[in-house]
Amino acid sequence: MKNHGWNDQIKQVLDGERELESLPPELRHEAEAARRQLLEAIDRRPVTLSDDVEARVMARVRSRATARWPRAWRWLSAPTIPRWAMLVPLAAAAALVLFVRTTQVPQTNGQAQAVVGQRESVYVRFELYAPRASRVALAGSFNRWNPAATPLVRVGPDGMWTVTLALPAGQHQYGFIVDGRNWVPDPAAPTVDDGFGRRNSVVSVNTINGRIL
């Protein structure tokens, strides 16, 4: 490792985590020079892109919109998607939204963290966009694959169904069940072979720094 570099305390000043005045006098001059050399020399002026960015983007977007259906049709006609999904408009991808609350208090990372009171478990929110469904349930290894155990609730007028569960750390396989009979994997989650010729979605949960797989 190259050892030529500023003292750690000077770096803390550069980070804004230590006051220059708190440095021993012999370091202050060097710290000021470092600040001048690095931080004060940065160009922070906002950058404005040219006016026709919007027009160029929309031109490309519109040409993609017309070409979209053939790709979507291939997705919709994949064997693991049940018939009912054909009726759902193009945009009906499930969204797996995961937010994390842990019992530990990890170093803050900008996300909301709350103490749960349960040991080593994490809140995970599952969502499925299914406007034509009359009921949606979640079944997986965390609820012993019981289709009746975890119904989703329809939220809002858009056809979004959701449920939030506390899951213990580990890997869990699951699927959604629409109208009591159609199993739907989560398009936004990784999948594994279920051993029955279809795919299960996977969610991995760990409480290291509140991160999730």
């Binding site: 690095l38 160009d43 950058v47 404005t48 960015v53 919007e54 803050t108």
Partner: protein, 180 residues
Amino acid sequence: MDHSGAPSDGSVVRAVLSGDVDQFSVLVRRYRDRYARYAAHMLGSIDAAEDAVQDAMVRAYTNLAQCREPDNFAGWFFLILRNRCFAERRRTRWESGLENVGEVAAPEQTESALERSEVVRSVQRALLHLTTEQREVFVLKHVEGLSYEEIAGRLSTSVAALKMRMHRAYDRLRELLEAP
């Protein structure tokens, strides 16, 4: 809807996903410049930043169905733009001559401003010699003004890893700027 009456990102996303493609222009207008400065510093020129932002916007449209939190379109778009900047960096090889370094922002006219702009340019040039990860943490903290915690949240990493990266960046920048 927020209080200003403008539609929320979430409702615009849902409208686009329901087939109203033109609504996507709302998001383009809203966010086209928000991360332009970040892209410009990551890539070394405004032109490159403009290409990156445009490509990222189109990718965001194409993959809009996978946006997990439509009300946080900005955060998701940032990650797409970030991937695009990282991919760009892998494709480009930077020689020490760096003739390709464009102006990050238009230079000023006065003499001391010219001198300052030369200093600014050499820092910008030096930044381009860092690894992409080091440059990114430097840009997010010292150009964009985010805290380590905010950066960690955005990049899904830890404050400790970021500080380690930043302190290496300081060392490397010092070498580059003091080289005869």
